[in-house]
Protein backbone atom coordinates (compact mmCIF):
# COMPACT_ATOMS: atom_id res chain seq x y z
CA UNK A 1 0.00 0.00 0.00
CA UNK A 2 1.46 3.34 -0.91
CA UNK A 3 1.79 5.97 1.77
CA UNK A 4 -0.61 8.86 2.07
CA UNK A 5 -0.98 11.49 4.75
CA UNK A 6 -4.71 10.79 4.91
CA UNK A 7 -4.18 7.09 5.64
CA UNK A 8 -1.66 8.03 8.26
CA UNK A 9 -4.03 10.33 10.07
CA UNK A 10 -6.68 7.61 10.01
CA UNK A 11 -4.19 5.33 11.71
CA UNK A 12 -3.45 7.98 14.30
CA UNK A 13 -7.15 8.46 14.97
CA UNK A 14 -7.63 4.75 15.43
CA UNK A 15 -4.64 4.59 17.78
CA UNK A 16 -6.06 7.33 20.02
CA UNK A 17 -9.43 5.60 20.20
CA UNK A 18 -7.94 2.19 20.94
CA UNK A 19 -5.53 3.54 23.55
CA UNK A 20 -8.25 5.47 25.32
CA UNK A 21 -10.57 2.47 25.35
CA UNK A 22 -7.83 0.20 26.71
CA UNK A 23 -7.26 2.52 29.65
CA UNK A 24 -10.97 3.12 30.25
CA UNK A 25 -11.80 -0.56 30.26
CA UNK A 26 -8.85 -1.27 32.52
CA UNK A 27 -7.32 -3.66 29.98
CA UNK A 28 -3.93 -2.04 30.43
CA UNK A 29 -2.30 -0.03 33.22
CA UNK A 30 -0.40 2.27 30.93
CA UNK A 31 0.20 3.18 27.33
CA UNK A 32 3.61 3.59 25.73
CA UNK A 33 3.55 5.57 22.50
CA UNK A 34 4.86 8.72 20.86
CA UNK A 35 3.94 12.39 21.22
CA UNK A 36 5.30 15.46 19.41
CA UNK A 37 8.81 16.32 20.55
CA UNK A 38 10.15 19.68 21.62
CA UNK A 39 12.21 19.86 18.42
CA UNK A 40 10.66 20.26 15.01
CA UNK A 41 10.11 17.10 12.95
CA UNK A 42 10.63 14.90 15.99
CA UNK A 43 8.67 12.83 18.47
CA UNK A 44 9.38 11.74 22.01
CA UNK A 45 8.15 8.71 23.96
CA UNK A 46 4.89 9.14 25.87
CA UNK A 47 4.33 6.82 28.80
CA UNK A 48 1.02 7.50 30.44
CA UNK A 49 -1.80 6.19 32.62
CA UNK A 50 -3.95 9.21 31.87
CA UNK A 51 -6.66 8.58 29.29
CA UNK A 52 -6.88 12.25 28.36
CA UNK A 53 -3.21 12.11 27.36
CA UNK A 54 -4.01 9.59 24.62
CA UNK A 55 -5.12 12.62 22.55
CA UNK A 56 -1.44 13.54 22.34
CA UNK A 57 -0.42 10.24 20.71
CA UNK A 58 0.94 10.58 17.18
CA UNK A 59 1.91 8.42 14.25
CA UNK A 60 4.09 10.09 11.63
CA UNK A 61 7.33 9.45 9.73
CA UNK A 62 9.34 10.61 12.78
CA UNK A 63 8.38 7.96 15.35
CA UNK A 64 11.93 6.70 15.64
CA UNK A 65 12.35 5.35 19.17
CA UNK A 66 12.21 1.63 19.76
CA UNK A 67 9.78 1.73 22.67
CA UNK A 68 10.27 -1.92 23.58
CA UNK A 69 13.31 -0.70 25.47
CA UNK A 70 10.98 0.42 28.28
CA UNK A 71 9.22 -2.92 28.69
CA UNK A 72 11.55 -4.73 31.11
CA UNK A 73 11.34 -1.74 33.48
CA UNK A 74 7.62 -1.03 33.29
CA UNK A 75 5.22 -2.71 35.69
CA UNK A 76 1.73 -3.99 35.03
CA UNK A 77 -0.10 -4.56 31.78
CA UNK A 78 1.14 -2.37 28.99
CA UNK A 79 -0.36 -1.10 25.77
CA UNK A 80 2.55 -0.45 23.44
CA UNK A 81 2.77 1.13 20.01
CA UNK A 82 5.04 -0.97 17.79
CA UNK A 83 6.36 -0.66 14.26
CA UNK A 84 7.63 -3.77 12.47
CA UNK A 85 11.16 -3.53 13.87
CA UNK A 86 9.89 -2.76 17.39
CA UNK A 87 7.62 -5.77 17.26
CA UNK A 88 10.64 -7.96 16.61
CA UNK A 89 12.39 -6.55 19.66
CA UNK A 90 9.26 -7.25 21.68
CA UNK A 91 9.16 -10.84 20.41
CA UNK A 92 12.81 -11.22 21.33
CA UNK A 93 12.06 -9.99 24.87
CA UNK A 94 9.23 -12.52 25.09
CA UNK A 95 11.60 -15.28 23.95
CA UNK A 96 14.03 -14.18 26.65
CA UNK A 97 11.28 -14.32 29.29
CA UNK A 98 11.77 -10.65 30.02
CA UNK A 99 8.14 -9.78 29.41
CA UNK A 100 5.03 -11.90 29.28
CA UNK A 101 2.95 -11.87 26.12
CA UNK A 102 -0.26 -11.74 28.15
CA UNK A 103 0.87 -8.55 29.89
CA UNK A 104 1.09 -6.75 26.57
CA UNK A 105 -1.42 -5.23 24.24
CA UNK A 106 0.48 -4.48 21.05
CA UNK A 107 -0.86 -1.63 18.92
CA UNK A 108 0.77 -2.54 15.63
CA UNK A 109 1.77 0.15 13.16
CA UNK A 110 2.21 -1.10 9.58
CA UNK A 111 5.24 1.04 8.88
CA UNK A 112 6.18 2.79 5.67
CA UNK A 113 9.64 3.81 6.84
CA UNK A 114 10.93 6.76 8.83
CA UNK A 115 12.56 9.96 7.65
CA UNK A 116 16.12 10.61 8.76
CA UNK A 117 16.05 14.35 9.44
CA UNK A 118 19.84 14.56 9.45
CA UNK A 119 19.82 13.35 5.83
CA UNK A 120 17.26 16.04 4.99
CA UNK A 121 19.39 18.64 6.77
CA UNK A 122 22.40 17.64 4.69
CA UNK A 123 20.42 17.68 1.44
CA UNK A 124 18.92 21.14 1.90
CA UNK A 125 21.84 22.62 3.83
CA UNK A 126 19.62 23.86 6.66
CA UNK A 127 19.23 22.93 10.29
CA UNK A 128 16.15 21.12 11.50
CA UNK A 129 14.70 24.31 13.01
CA UNK A 130 15.02 26.23 9.75
CA UNK A 131 13.09 23.63 7.79
CA UNK A 132 9.41 24.56 7.69
CA UNK A 133 7.84 21.33 6.55
CA UNK A 134 8.73 17.77 5.63
CA UNK A 135 5.87 15.80 4.13
CA UNK A 136 5.44 12.56 2.28
CA UNK A 137 3.04 11.57 -0.45
CA UNK A 138 3.52 8.17 -2.03
CA UNK A 139 7.23 7.76 -2.55
CA UNK A 140 8.03 11.45 -2.77
CA UNK A 141 9.24 13.51 0.19
CA UNK A 142 8.64 17.24 -0.10
CA UNK A 143 10.75 19.63 1.96
CA UNK A 144 9.76 23.28 2.35
CA UNK A 145 12.10 26.03 3.44
CA UNK A 146 10.40 29.41 3.21
CA UNK A 147 9.05 29.70 -0.33
CA UNK A 148 11.49 27.08 -1.65
CA UNK A 149 10.29 23.53 -2.21
CA UNK A 150 12.39 20.46 -2.94
CA UNK A 151 11.45 16.88 -3.65
CA UNK A 152 13.43 13.79 -2.69
CA UNK A 153 13.15 10.05 -3.17
CA UNK A 154 12.83 7.53 -0.36
CA UNK A 155 16.37 6.21 -0.75
CA UNK A 156 17.67 9.74 -0.27
CA UNK A 157 15.98 10.52 3.02
CA UNK A 158 14.82 7.37 4.80
CA UNK A 159 16.85 5.81 7.61
CA UNK A 160 19.30 3.20 6.37
CA UNK A 161 17.76 0.49 8.51
CA UNK A 162 14.31 1.34 7.09
CA UNK A 163 15.66 0.92 3.58
CA UNK A 164 16.99 -2.50 4.60
CA UNK A 165 13.87 -3.47 6.61
CA UNK A 166 12.44 -6.94 5.99
CA UNK A 167 9.38 -6.70 8.16
CA UNK A 168 7.61 -3.31 8.15
CA UNK A 169 4.32 -4.82 9.32
CA UNK A 170 4.59 -6.09 12.90
CA UNK A 171 5.12 -9.82 13.39
CA UNK A 172 3.10 -9.81 16.57
CA UNK A 173 0.18 -7.52 17.45
CA UNK A 174 -3.23 -7.40 19.08
CA UNK A 175 -4.62 -4.80 16.78
CA UNK A 176 -3.17 -3.64 13.48
CA UNK A 177 -3.86 0.06 13.03
CA UNK A 178 -3.86 0.03 9.21
CA UNK A 179 -3.34 -2.03 6.08
CA UNK A 180 -0.16 -4.17 5.96
CA UNK A 181 2.78 -2.55 4.19
CA UNK A 182 5.64 -4.08 2.23
CA UNK A 183 9.40 -3.48 2.44
CA UNK A 184 10.79 -0.41 0.69
CA UNK A 185 13.56 -2.57 -0.73
CA UNK A 186 15.87 0.28 -1.76
CA UNK A 187 19.62 0.05 -1.45
CA UNK A 188 20.84 1.59 1.78
CA UNK A 189 24.01 3.57 2.17
CA UNK A 190 24.97 1.49 5.18
CA UNK A 191 24.93 -1.71 3.12
CA UNK A 192 27.43 0.10 0.95
CA UNK A 193 29.53 0.81 4.01
CA UNK A 194 29.55 -2.85 4.98
CA UNK A 195 30.48 -3.85 1.44
CA UNK A 196 33.21 -1.26 1.50
CA UNK A 197 34.56 -2.69 4.74
CA UNK A 198 34.40 -6.21 3.36
CA UNK A 199 36.48 -5.16 0.38
CA UNK A 200 39.23 -3.91 2.71
CA UNK A 201 42.06 -6.00 4.13
CA UNK A 202 41.74 -7.21 7.71
CA UNK A 203 44.34 -4.69 8.86
CA UNK A 204 42.46 -1.86 7.14
CA UNK A 205 39.19 -2.90 8.76
CA UNK A 206 40.70 -2.99 12.20
CA UNK A 207 42.35 0.38 11.62
CA UNK A 208 39.00 1.76 10.49
CA UNK A 209 37.29 0.70 13.70
CA UNK A 210 40.17 1.84 15.88
CA UNK A 211 39.85 5.23 14.31
CA UNK A 212 36.08 5.36 14.74
CA UNK A 213 36.25 4.41 18.41
CA UNK A 214 38.85 7.02 19.21
CA UNK A 215 35.96 9.50 19.46
CA UNK A 216 33.60 7.27 21.46
CA UNK A 217 32.85 9.04 24.75
CA UNK A 218 31.67 5.81 26.39
CA UNK A 219 28.40 7.55 27.20
CA UNK A 220 26.76 4.09 26.95
CA UNK A 221 23.78 5.59 25.16
CA UNK A 222 24.01 2.79 22.58
CA UNK A 223 23.63 0.25 25.36
CA UNK A 224 20.94 2.21 27.16
CA UNK A 225 18.66 2.48 24.15
CA UNK A 226 19.17 -1.16 23.23
CA UNK A 227 16.17 -3.36 24.06
CA UNK A 228 18.48 -6.40 24.11
CA UNK A 229 20.80 -4.78 26.68
CA UNK A 230 18.57 -5.15 29.71
CA UNK A 231 21.14 -6.51 32.19
CA UNK A 232 20.69 -4.96 35.63
CA UNK A 233 24.45 -4.96 35.92
CA UNK A 234 26.32 -4.67 32.68
CA UNK A 235 29.88 -6.04 32.49
CA UNK A 236 31.12 -2.47 32.12
CA UNK A 237 29.86 -1.70 35.62
CA UNK A 238 31.58 -4.66 37.23
CA UNK A 239 34.54 -3.88 39.44
CA UNK A 240 35.75 -7.32 40.54
CA UNK A 241 37.24 -7.85 38.12
CA UNK A 242 37.06 -4.60 36.29
CA UNK A 243 36.88 -5.42 32.61
CA UNK A 244 37.38 -1.93 31.24
CA UNK A 245 39.19 1.15 32.43
CA UNK A 246 36.48 3.73 33.23
CA UNK A 247 38.25 6.45 31.26
CA UNK A 248 37.14 6.38 27.61
CA UNK A 249 40.16 5.33 25.59
CA UNK A 250 40.17 3.75 22.17
CA UNK A 251 41.21 0.18 23.05
CA UNK A 252 38.61 -0.16 25.79
CA UNK A 253 35.94 1.70 23.80
CA UNK A 254 36.42 -0.73 20.98
CA UNK A 255 36.44 -3.70 23.32
CA UNK A 256 33.21 -2.47 24.88
CA UNK A 257 31.43 -2.34 21.55
CA UNK A 258 32.75 -5.74 20.44
CA UNK A 259 31.44 -7.35 23.63
CA UNK A 260 28.15 -5.52 23.40
CA UNK A 261 27.58 -6.86 19.90
CA UNK A 262 28.55 -10.38 20.93
CA UNK A 263 26.20 -10.20 23.92
CA UNK A 264 23.21 -9.17 21.86
CA UNK A 265 23.86 -11.61 19.01
CA UNK A 266 20.68 -13.44 18.10
CA UNK A 267 18.64 -10.79 19.89
CA UNK A 268 19.70 -7.69 18.01
CA UNK A 269 17.20 -7.02 15.23
CA UNK A 270 19.30 -4.30 13.60
CA UNK A 271 16.69 -1.69 14.53
CA UNK A 272 19.30 1.06 14.29
CA UNK A 273 18.68 2.72 17.66
CA UNK A 274 22.34 2.55 18.74
CA UNK A 275 23.55 4.27 15.60
CA UNK A 276 20.83 6.95 15.83
CA UNK A 277 21.61 7.77 19.42
CA UNK A 278 25.40 7.82 19.17
CA UNK A 279 26.39 11.46 19.80
CA UNK A 280 29.61 11.12 17.82
CA UNK A 281 28.12 9.33 14.79
CA UNK A 282 29.99 6.07 14.90
CA UNK A 283 28.50 3.87 12.14
CA UNK A 284 27.40 1.20 14.61
CA UNK A 285 25.03 -0.41 12.15
CA UNK A 286 27.96 -1.68 10.12
CA UNK A 287 28.58 -3.89 13.17
CA UNK A 288 25.00 -4.80 14.04
CA UNK A 289 24.19 -5.58 10.42
CA UNK A 290 27.24 -7.80 10.15
CA UNK A 291 26.18 -9.70 13.27
CA UNK A 292 22.64 -9.97 11.94
CA UNK A 293 23.98 -11.56 8.74
CA UNK A 294 26.41 -13.81 10.62
CA UNK A 295 23.77 -15.49 12.79
CA UNK A 296 21.60 -15.93 9.74
CA UNK A 297 24.43 -17.44 7.72
CA UNK A 298 25.69 -19.75 10.47
CA UNK A 299 22.42 -20.81 12.08
CA UNK A 300 19.66 -19.60 9.78
CA UNK A 301 18.42 -17.50 12.63
CA UNK A 302 16.62 -14.18 12.45
CA UNK A 303 15.98 -12.39 15.72
CA UNK A 304 12.50 -11.70 17.00
CA UNK A 305 10.43 -13.42 14.33
CA UNK A 306 8.34 -15.76 16.43
CA UNK A 307 7.57 -15.98 20.14
CA UNK A 308 7.89 -19.78 20.14
CA UNK A 309 11.48 -19.89 18.87
CA UNK A 310 14.12 -20.66 21.45
CA UNK A 311 16.72 -17.88 21.88
CA UNK A 312 19.74 -18.48 19.64
CA UNK A 313 22.32 -18.80 22.38
CA UNK A 314 20.35 -21.16 24.59
CA UNK A 315 19.67 -23.60 21.77
CA UNK A 316 21.95 -25.91 19.82
CA UNK A 317 22.01 -28.63 17.21
CA UNK A 318 24.23 -31.64 17.76
CA UNK A 319 25.72 -31.33 14.29
CA UNK A 320 26.62 -27.75 13.62
CA UNK A 321 29.66 -25.51 13.39
CA UNK A 322 31.96 -28.54 13.71
CA UNK A 323 34.33 -26.97 11.19
CA UNK A 324 35.19 -24.50 13.92
CA UNK A 325 36.69 -27.20 16.11
CA UNK A 326 40.05 -28.74 15.32
Amino acid sequence: MSYSAAKNSQMQKKLRQEAKALLEQGKVDCIIGYEPGSLKHATTPLITKDKAATERLVINPFIVNNLSNFLPYTKGRIGIVAKGCDSRSIVSLIQDNKVKREDLFILGVPCSGLIDVSKVEALVGKYRDEIDDISRQGDIITVKVGAAKKEFSLSQVMFDNCLACELPTPAEYDVLLGEPTSPIGAAAESAGKLDELKAMTAAQRWAFWQNEFRRCTRCYACRNVCPACYCKRCFVDETEPQWLAPMPQEPDNLMFQIIRNLHVSGRCTDCGECERTCPVNIPLRALTRDMYDIVDELFEFKSGMDTKTQPLLTAYEVDEAEDLVK
Binding site: I258, N261, D290, V295, V325
Partner: protein, 153 residues
Protein backbone atom coordinates in the same frame (compact mmCIF):
# COMPACT_ATOMS: atom_id res chain seq x y z
CA UNK B 1 55.70 -7.85 10.11
CA UNK B 2 59.11 -7.41 11.71
CA UNK B 3 59.84 -9.60 14.67
CA UNK B 4 62.94 -10.22 16.61
CA UNK B 5 63.91 -13.86 16.63
CA UNK B 6 63.37 -13.94 20.40
CA UNK B 7 59.66 -13.40 20.07
CA UNK B 8 57.54 -16.17 21.44
CA UNK B 9 53.77 -16.02 21.27
CA UNK B 10 51.79 -16.19 24.47
CA UNK B 11 48.45 -17.81 24.52
CA UNK B 12 45.70 -18.20 27.01
CA UNK B 13 44.04 -21.57 27.44
CA UNK B 14 40.51 -21.68 28.77
CA UNK B 15 40.09 -25.33 29.66
CA UNK B 16 37.08 -27.06 31.08
CA UNK B 17 37.61 -28.64 34.44
CA UNK B 18 36.21 -32.07 33.59
CA UNK B 19 38.01 -33.02 30.39
CA UNK B 20 40.56 -30.68 28.92
CA UNK B 21 42.15 -29.47 32.13
CA UNK B 22 42.56 -33.08 33.19
CA UNK B 23 43.99 -33.84 29.74
CA UNK B 24 46.56 -31.06 30.16
CA UNK B 25 47.34 -32.37 33.62
CA UNK B 26 47.90 -35.82 32.25
CA UNK B 27 50.36 -34.40 29.74
CA UNK B 28 52.29 -33.06 32.72
CA UNK B 29 52.21 -36.23 34.80
CA UNK B 30 52.99 -38.28 31.68
CA UNK B 31 56.06 -36.05 31.13
CA UNK B 32 54.90 -35.04 27.70
CA UNK B 33 56.41 -31.74 26.71
CA UNK B 34 54.13 -29.01 25.47
CA UNK B 35 55.17 -25.46 24.59
CA UNK B 36 55.54 -23.23 27.62
CA UNK B 37 53.75 -20.48 25.69
CA UNK B 38 50.39 -21.32 27.17
CA UNK B 39 48.89 -19.95 30.38
CA UNK B 40 45.95 -21.99 31.54
CA UNK B 41 42.77 -20.94 33.29
CA UNK B 42 40.47 -23.68 34.51
CA UNK B 43 36.79 -23.02 33.86
CA UNK B 44 33.90 -25.10 35.23
CA UNK B 45 32.60 -25.83 31.72
CA UNK B 46 33.28 -24.56 28.21
CA UNK B 47 29.69 -23.35 28.34
CA UNK B 48 30.77 -20.85 30.98
CA UNK B 49 32.96 -18.97 28.53
CA UNK B 50 31.53 -15.54 27.92
CA UNK B 51 33.11 -14.07 24.74
CA UNK B 52 34.15 -11.32 27.12
CA UNK B 53 36.93 -13.60 28.42
CA UNK B 54 38.27 -14.11 24.92
CA UNK B 55 38.23 -10.47 23.92
CA UNK B 56 39.70 -9.45 27.26
CA UNK B 57 42.58 -11.86 26.67
CA UNK B 58 43.26 -10.18 23.33
CA UNK B 59 42.95 -6.80 25.01
CA UNK B 60 45.58 -7.86 27.53
CA UNK B 61 47.91 -8.71 24.70
CA UNK B 62 47.67 -12.49 24.51
CA UNK B 63 48.51 -13.53 20.97
CA UNK B 64 45.94 -16.28 20.84
CA UNK B 65 43.23 -17.99 22.83
CA UNK B 66 42.60 -21.70 23.04
CA UNK B 67 39.20 -22.86 24.19
CA UNK B 68 38.91 -26.53 24.96
CA UNK B 69 36.06 -28.60 26.32
CA UNK B 70 34.75 -32.15 26.43
CA UNK B 71 33.91 -33.97 23.21
CA UNK B 72 30.33 -33.58 21.97
CA UNK B 73 28.13 -35.87 24.01
CA UNK B 74 30.62 -36.00 26.88
CA UNK B 75 29.88 -32.69 28.59
CA UNK B 76 29.61 -33.11 32.34
CA UNK B 77 26.56 -30.84 32.19
CA UNK B 78 25.24 -32.52 29.03
CA UNK B 79 25.06 -29.54 26.70
CA UNK B 80 27.56 -26.89 27.83
CA UNK B 81 29.97 -27.59 24.98
CA UNK B 82 27.24 -27.37 22.34
CA UNK B 83 26.29 -23.94 23.60
CA UNK B 84 29.93 -22.93 23.74
CA UNK B 85 30.37 -24.00 20.14
CA UNK B 86 27.59 -21.72 18.95
CA UNK B 87 28.94 -18.79 20.86
CA UNK B 88 32.48 -19.39 19.65
CA UNK B 89 31.43 -19.70 16.03
CA UNK B 90 29.73 -16.31 16.27
CA UNK B 91 32.62 -14.74 18.15
CA UNK B 92 35.17 -15.89 15.65
CA UNK B 93 33.20 -14.80 12.63
CA UNK B 94 32.39 -11.40 14.11
CA UNK B 95 36.00 -10.74 15.13
CA UNK B 96 37.11 -11.76 11.66
CA UNK B 97 34.69 -9.24 10.19
CA UNK B 98 36.27 -6.52 12.29
CA UNK B 99 39.74 -7.41 11.12
CA UNK B 100 41.04 -9.94 13.65
CA UNK B 101 42.82 -13.00 12.26
CA UNK B 102 40.42 -15.83 13.14
CA UNK B 103 43.35 -18.17 13.77
CA UNK B 104 43.93 -16.31 17.01
CA UNK B 105 40.93 -18.09 18.44
CA UNK B 106 41.16 -21.87 18.43
CA UNK B 107 38.52 -24.25 19.71
CA UNK B 108 39.04 -27.92 20.33
CA UNK B 109 37.73 -30.90 22.21
CA UNK B 110 40.22 -32.74 24.44
CA UNK B 111 39.18 -35.51 26.79
CA UNK B 112 40.84 -36.33 30.12
CA UNK B 113 42.85 -39.10 28.47
CA UNK B 114 43.97 -37.20 25.39
CA UNK B 115 47.19 -35.67 26.65
CA UNK B 116 48.76 -36.33 23.28
CA UNK B 117 46.10 -34.36 21.48
CA UNK B 118 46.51 -31.51 23.91
CA UNK B 119 50.22 -31.29 23.20
CA UNK B 120 49.53 -31.39 19.49
CA UNK B 121 46.89 -28.68 19.54
CA UNK B 122 49.01 -26.31 21.61
CA UNK B 123 52.07 -26.87 19.43
CA UNK B 124 50.05 -26.32 16.31
CA UNK B 125 48.50 -23.13 17.62
CA UNK B 126 51.93 -21.81 18.63
CA UNK B 127 53.13 -22.53 15.11
CA UNK B 128 50.16 -20.65 13.64
CA UNK B 129 50.69 -17.71 15.95
CA UNK B 130 54.35 -17.46 15.00
CA UNK B 131 53.16 -17.10 11.45
CA UNK B 132 50.55 -14.47 12.28
CA UNK B 133 52.89 -12.47 14.49
CA UNK B 134 52.34 -10.56 17.72
CA UNK B 135 48.92 -9.30 18.68
CA UNK B 136 48.97 -5.54 18.39
CA UNK B 137 45.22 -5.17 18.06
CA UNK B 138 44.65 -3.20 21.20
CA UNK B 139 47.70 -1.06 20.81
CA UNK B 140 50.16 -3.22 22.53
CA UNK B 141 53.36 -5.02 22.23
CA UNK B 142 53.04 -5.11 26.00
CA UNK B 143 52.75 -8.64 27.25
CA UNK B 144 50.44 -9.15 30.16
CA UNK B 145 52.18 -9.86 33.40
CA UNK B 146 50.74 -12.74 35.30
CA UNK B 147 49.31 -10.56 38.03
CA UNK B 148 47.37 -8.38 35.62
CA UNK B 149 45.89 -11.33 33.83
CA UNK B 150 44.76 -12.76 37.14
CA UNK B 151 42.91 -9.71 38.43
CA UNK B 152 41.83 -8.63 34.99
CA UNK B 153 42.51 -5.00 35.81
Amino acid sequence: MTQDSEWEPRLLGLLCKWCSYAGADLAGTGRKKYPANIRIIKVPCSGRIDPLLIVKALRLGFDGVLVSGCHPGDCHYQTGNYRARRRLAITRKFLEGMGVDPRRLRATWVSASESGKFVEVVSDLVKDLKEIGPNELFGGKKQPDAEKAKTGS
